[in-house]
């Protein structure tokens, strides 16, 4: 019976008083490694020094600190390109601005911990001004949570003239935004029609590009997605009603596509009474969402046929969804996406879409030691994605549960 051990087996002399942990190499012994770029490596070791992967394979230094991950499936830490990390329920309802900041931020920490425990070591939050506090606290390397990239406050058609929008983009950069988020269309539950003018979209994406910032565009309709693609925006989010010609255009322009077919709508529907009556979460909207589950799935299947289209992994996680970010993977595989490609989408392709392909999203020398191990193989059995039992981020082990634990206990 395999055991997940925290130390080397056998009669080994006790180690002397410890130097700082990060001074010594850590070895992950693995029987199956999915490198995030489509490769499978069997029976190897991953050597970690400090916060980075230094090499794969080769000699194991005598007396190395070892985690035995044989029998598990090791992958790079997963990435969620669209997670509203602060959203949460309070007293059974979607929490709003009236909640004391004290409490809201505690819920946010909870979301962050659950997300990390599910194997997601990096997320993009599109976004809210208070994201930065959580981002910065986690970046200090103490409190557990994924690395966060945030857009801070998003822009929309109400942000003003094209010139005003350019000014706001500059302001976001000054405020420390990692990327820009714009709403170019209505929500899915309102039908998704274009809201920002083409000129507004061009202003946002043009200015952002000149400042070296990426732009994520909420766009459901073909018109809004086309406008965003032609304006040089980085990624189209959601895109429930997109068609083949739009996908062709996106593929040609290198625009990323972020469909959300497995978690956001299902989570809304499962938690309907917690949202109903707040803002535009009304019966009509929920009726729309019921129908949209199939619509977005069909659109996704259409997108899959475009081999040059780069699909990233975003869930649009809101209150109730954090920690179940893996459901998107399962839905995409069930909808027909090749499981290895689905994994690449959640790792190296998402990393590339964020301009971070040299740091995260694959297991290779020089990359951040963001490594997850699943009890089971998600590429052979998609439901294994629910069972991350080992989570390392930046070379630190945040989660190390015994086999058979059925995944992060606190996410139940």
């Amino acid at each position: 019976m395999l055991r997940l051990l925290g130390f080397m087996l056998g009669a080994v002399a006790l180690f002397p008083a410890l130097a700082a942990a990060q001074d010594r190499a850590i070895i992950l012994k693995a029987s199956t490694v999915l490198d995030g770029k489509g490769q499978i490596i069997h029976d190897t070791v991953i050597v970690i020094e400090g916060s980075k992967i230094s090499r794969i394979g080769g000699e194991v230094p005598a007396g190395a600190i070892t985690y035995d991950l044989t029998g598990l499936t090791v992958t790079p830490g997963w990435i969620d390109t669209h997670s509203h990390i602060l959203w949460h329920f309070d007293n059974g309802r979607l929490a709003g601005k009236n909640e004391p900041p004290l409490q809201a931020m505690l819920h946010a920490v909870d979301n962050a911990v659950r997300t990390l425990n599910a194997g997601f070591t990096t997320i993009q939050s599109p976004g809210a001004p208070d994201d930065k506090y959580l981002r910065d606290a986690i970046a200090r390397g103490v409190i557990p949570g994924p690395q966060i990239r945030t857009s801070l406050e998003p822009l929309s058609e109400e942000s003003g003239t094209p010139d005003k929008i350019r000014e706001l983009v500059r302001e976001r950069k000054q405020q420390g935004a990692d990327f820009i988020k714009i709403f170019a269309s209505k929500s899915i539950r309102e039908g998704g029609a274009q809201t920002m003018t083409d000129a507004q979209i061009q202003a946002a994406c043009g200015e952002a590009k000149s400042l070296g910032l990426r732009v994520l565009v909420h766009a459901h309709s073909t018109a809004s997605a086309k406008a965003a693609t032609l304006a040089g925006c980085t990624a189209i989010e959601h895109g429930a009603y997109l068609t083949d010609d739009v996908f062709d255009l996106m593929a040609q322009n290198g625009t990323y596509y972020d469909p959300n077919i497995g978690l956001v709508l299902q989570n809304y529907l499962a938690n309907k009474e917690k949202f109903l009556g707040i803002d535009n979460y009304n019966e009509e909207g929920f009726a729309f969402m019921e129908k949209d589950v199939e619509i977005v799935r069909d659109t996704f299947q259409k997108a899959l046929k475009h081999k040059d289209l780069k699909i990233v992994y975003g869930t649009d996680a809101v209150a109730g969804a954090h920690g179940r970010n893996y459901e998107e993977f399962i839905a995409r595989v069930n909808a027909g996406q090749d499981p290895m490609e689905a994994l690449e989408s959640a790792t190296s392709i998402s990393a590339e879409s964020m301009g971070m392909q040299d740091q995260i999203g694959s297991i290779a020398p020089g990359m951040e030691a963001n490594i997850v191990a699943f009890d089971g193989n998600p590429v052979e059995d998609a439901s294994a994605a629910r069972r991350a039992i080992f989570v390392m981020k930046g070379g630190r082990v945040y989660e190390n549960l015994a086999r058979g634990s059925e995944g992060p206990q606190r996410n139940k």
């Binding site: 055991r3 942990a21 010594r24 931020m105 557990p144 190390n400 015994a402 139940k412």
Partner: protein, 446 residues
């Protein structure tokens, strides 16, 4: 699971504005106190109940039971978040902790869990936002848990309450927190008349306090002079008893006797206390929590972060450093006093969270406390001081599965307390790292 009407009744007492039974009749008051204490413990236990069902087996070559005994080559079976039994033949092993020292999660009876240095790196930061303060508190809670402390008593501030509740809901990784919510900081007449003090006790209970914190003397640097009258102390500790709450009282030497006579539960610090004071506490069953040095060391090590804030100056820090021998003295005399229950408390303030185990080292190395006694003072004895001995503080059937493991044997080398490789709380594994790879967090190095 102990949920149900009884649990709901208990929680109702903690909600603001709840109707309290303020004037119980004389005959039933004792029974009420007992009943209240039991219900309080039950409610705490109910809040801590965990839904995990599959049995988990922890193998240990060395196991401390929390009551002073060490066992070898045995296994602990955990189910539903609780310890089911200790059974050397339990199979299969889920967590193999052989080669480590396995013991109950530690309890720190005196922390300030939300105290932290602000974004400006200092103890006072007027620019810190509420969000940053909350994140700092949550970070303190996390490193405290990582350091092997699965329960802390925070005395405390109002921000402790939402942090406690978030942790109880099973969200944030942190220790179980008992909090005094809003200590009665004022001294002398400013603390109020006896009737006002009684009202304070009832009020802070409604605000969610698990215990009452009051100050019977000035600080040591100001002479440790008594600041509350006997009537004020009597009112505080009597009303607390009526409300089913314990009292933690800051008291230097001169304050020990009046505090003990007032029937308070536990005395903190006690420096300059006489042998008679110590004997009186032992006689009356008052718990004693003297600090052997970590709090001072933390202040001195971080003085640049404190200087300029409030009272703190270079000169004051020079005087603080001179307190150390006095603290050693009271501690040594305390552990030499028969029947005096000396519990473990650090008075951890900003800069100390996650380094709570340093106090063990000070108590053993500098004051000669027996190593196993030091462990017990943070296990079953601390639990008993909190009236939670049937919930935490030892490895025994029915108790919460709060279990930690150290790389090294603290009975041979007390500094092994710095090397926590495994932390389980309520049956959930929060830390399980390889020997040699214990994470050291910036600002939390030993």
């Amino acid at each position: 699971m102990l949920r149900g009407a009884r649990f709901r009744d208990m929680r109702a007492w903690n909600r603001k504005g709840a109707q309290d039974d303020e004037k119980p009749s004389k005959h039933s008051s004792m029974l009420r106190i007992l009943k209240t204490a039991v219900i309080a413990a039950v409610a705490v236990a109910a809040a801590w109940a965990n839904a995990q069902d599959r049995p988990v087996v922890i193998a240990a070559s060395t196991l401390f039971d929390g009551k002073g005994q060490a066992f070898h080559n045995t296994r602990v079976v955990v189910q539903g978040g609780k310890i089911l039994r200790v059974d050397p033949n339990a199979e299969p092993i889920t967590y193999d902790l052989r080669g480590f020292t396995v013991l109950p999660g530690w309890i720190d009876t005196h922390v300030h869990i939300n105290d932290h240095f602000g974004p400006n790196g200092r103890a006072q930061d007027s620019k810190e936002t509420p969000a940053q303060a909350v994140l700092a508190g949550a970070t303190d809670a996390f490193v405290t848990l990582m350091a092997g402390f699965t329960t802390v008593q925070s005395v405390g501030q109002p921000g402790d309450v939402p942090l406690r509740d978030a942790i109880t809901r099973g969200e944030i990784p942190g220790p179980r927190i008992l909090t005094a919510a809003r200590p009665l900081d004022e001294r002398g007449p400013a603390a109020g008349t006896p009737e006002q003090i009684r009202e304070y006790v009832r009020q802070v209970k409604a605000e969610g306090a698990d215990l009452i914190k009051i100050f019977a003397t000035t600080t040591l640097l100001e002479g440790g002079k008594v600041t509350l009258s006997q009537e004020q102390l009597d009112a505080a500790c009597d009303e607390a008893k009526k409300q089913g709450l314990r009292t933690l009282v800051h008291a230097y030497g001169p304050g020990i006797r009046p505090t003990t006579l007032a029937g308070c539960t536990q005395i903190e610090h006690g420096t300059l206390g006489t042998d008679d004071d110590l004997r009186l506490m032992a006689e009356r069953g008052v718990y004693f929590d003297p600090q052997a040095g970590f709090v001072i060391e933390n202040y001195v090590a971080n003085k640049d972060r404190y200087i300029g804030s409030g009272n703190d100056t270079e000169e004051r820090f020079a005087r603080i450093a001179k307190i150390l021998p006095l603290d050693h003295d009271i501690f040594q005399r305390a552990i030499a006093t028969p029947h005096l229950k000396v519990v473990f408390g650090t008075d951890a303030v900003a800069g100390a969270a996650g380094r709570n185990a340093e106090e063990f080292i000070d108590r053993v190395r500098d004051c000669g406390q027996d190593r196993m006694a030091a462990m017990v003072s943070a296990n079953s004895l601390a639990a008993e001081s909190m009236r939670l001995e049937s919930e935490i503080g030892s490895i025994a059937p029915g108790l919460q599965a709060d279990i930690i493991a150290l790389d090294g044997d603290p009975l041979q080398d007390i500094t092994a307390v710095r090397n926590v490789v495994f932390v389980m709380k309520g049956g959930v594994v929060y830390k399980n790292v390889a020997r040699g790879a214990i994470p050291r967090y910036a600002g939390v190095e030993p």
